[in-house]
Symmetry: C2
Subunit: 411 residues, 2 copies
Amino acid sequence: MQIRNNRYTLKNCRFIVNYDKIFENTNIVIQDEYIKNLGREVEGDEFDCSEYVAIPGLVNAHTHTPMIALRGYYDDAELTEWLEKMWEFEKVFKTNEMNIASELAVMEMLSKGTTAFIDMYFNPEGVKEIAEKYGIRAYAGYTFLNRLFDPHEIDKKQRQLKASELFKPIVNVHSIYSTSVDTLKLANQLAEETNSWIHIHVSETRSEIYEIKKKYGKFPVELLNELRIVRKAQLVHLGWVANWELQYVTNATHCPTSNMKLATAGFFPFKELIESGVNVTIGTDGAASNNSLDMFREMKNAVLLQRYSYWDVGIKAYHVFKAATENGYKLINLKGGKIEEGYIADIVLLKKDKLYPLKKDRILSNIVYYSVGEHVGKVIVNGRIVYDENVEREFDKRRRELLGLLDKIIP
Amino acid sequence: MQIRNNRYTLKNCRFIVNYDKIFENTNIVIQDEYIKNLGREVEGDEFDCSEYVAIPGLVNAHTHTPMIALRGYYDDAELTEWLEKMWEFEKVFKTNEMNIASELAVMEMLSKGTTAFIDMYFNPEGVKEIAEKYGIRAYAGYTFLNRLFDPHEIDKKQRQLKASELFKPIVNVHSIYSTSVDTLKLANQLAEETNSWIHIHVSETRSEIYEIKKKYGKFPVELLNELRIVRKAQLVHLGWVANWELQYVTNATHCPTSNMKLATAGFFPFKELIESGVNVTIGTDGAASNNSLDMFREMKNAVLLQRYSYWDVGIKAYHVFKAATENGYKLINLKGGKIEEGYIADIVLLKKDKLYPLKKDRILSNIVYYSVGEHVGKVIVNGRIVYDENVEREFDKRRRELLGLLDKIIP
């Protein structure tokens, strides 16, 4: 279902919207995996883009794709109780069943403009296969979680997991509180030796801070710093982080909807993090705690939560748009997240009729505050057209098949 | 574009979802404006409903329809500065121009499952005509706002405004701070004599509390109580209300997205209000402060904000679904907001394929936490089918015409 075309032109895009620069009625020439040119040139096949607004692909920096199986299952509990309920199901959740749910999540994310995602779960081989099949970028790995798995087993399996065109292995650690210092050290060594990064939930709840401080005499980020983990880690949540801990952080991911829904309180210090030079990204978290995988809704909620927490409007549309595009690509170490010459051709085309009033000085606002994933018309990843209305019909058929299978599994 | 059919059956609806009761594979018989029967009976024409989930129509309890003209215009300011900017444009915004924007908003709301809305602006005659044309329920009136209008002029015009099948006049008062005690008394008398209610922004910001207390020696709700206004009023926002003021309140409307976006802080005491027996409803506010008019997104954000503010999960999906359905109809004094025998036939059909995993014990969660307006397939108001895919094509044409006109007006 992916169309590979070595060279083509998206002709006359109504707008091209980067977080810092907007072009009007402009062509995008794509050559292999890259954006060759922006302007008036036409090369190769032509696709009329006049009914679309082009934006860089969105990176969902934190999710748990198989949890789409648990969407709507247990929505009215705080994090600790909720997690117990999730783990109860996860003990009997088989790999082939996880793959069914991951495939559903991939179709959903792609159709809503997500071009890359970072996944924490237990079926990375399946995710790899699905990513290559659908043409989405995926970053996944086995997950250190001592309650469910032997860490040495995880280490061993992770070393056998290989990269492919669109898939890259990462080292997933569920959290400090669900592992041990030995496991953290093991994961750190693994990340170094496999040239990967550590993706970990940190400082999500007040009780986590209390428990870690009681057990180790340190705050969570402080402890990760002492273990020399934090610099190459992607810290997810950071709702209860001390200002002095921020100096240690390189990558932080915000999941505003999930944090609010699970009543974790605290707040993610978006402004302080970007002022400290931290690469801030945004994730939907899993479908069991959000329950949407729509990055447009997530960008908006990130602004709303900051404004509510800080009593000011310091965080604006372009901050979250940058976080979901350029910063996302920086995290996965690709020259993407902008529609400019020489950048990776990961592009989302939004139906322009959905973005009214359509004006140059309002377009970014309307993308962040008004749009939803349903406004997406086409998606291009690595130069290939991987989603459009024809693909949607294929998705629809496949979705019915998969849901038939899923219905037999889910609680 | 409205289909009037005296008697028909929505056959075999996959689910029928009320906040307190869910039916499976059930028929809905509609006779004139009412739901005649739920069950296995078939009367009149048959419409296959097996691909749909039926929910009661959603009431958008607070909006400013013409502000769709300002969507995306000035999104990064706090309320006071933002309001100055809005008023600047509103001074030159002509009634016929407002009507263009209101018509766009009505199409948008209807297509996203809103069957009734409460509007505060300056073009109620236009709103009345539009509501009858599109078949949506509208509650609107001229607005007391001393800075822009002579209150006696408003009083006079309001007395000439008459109800029609779907339209009812209400007394709009912008706020305490933008009127005077004399104007509030005038509005109160008008509401009594026209058998209407007062729809007013109250206790939205901390500075409002400070200003009102300084000027009148009273808190806003306290002042409205002293003026004998509060019992028959619909109080919108209530972000900065004292617990002891709640005893005076009858109707309260929450606009979580707008409050967060404008950084008004405080919080709407959802739980305390319902425990005090107050009729709590939900509104999107205008498109310039949200910027969406999607009540599905608003229901979700209402839960998220409460959970974030209270550090607990006390407010659940069914609370906000009740607020948007049954409580909304209670406010407008109609026996609606539930799909049951004898209730008004205001019904929204959601495409069931969008609500996966589709299970009886997850369906309400997935409607509130996952759905967006784009999942709406058909809308029925007062027994008439007023929105479906054929109507959407008409909307599309009309939208293009109106946007062409709007482009010449907007800043």
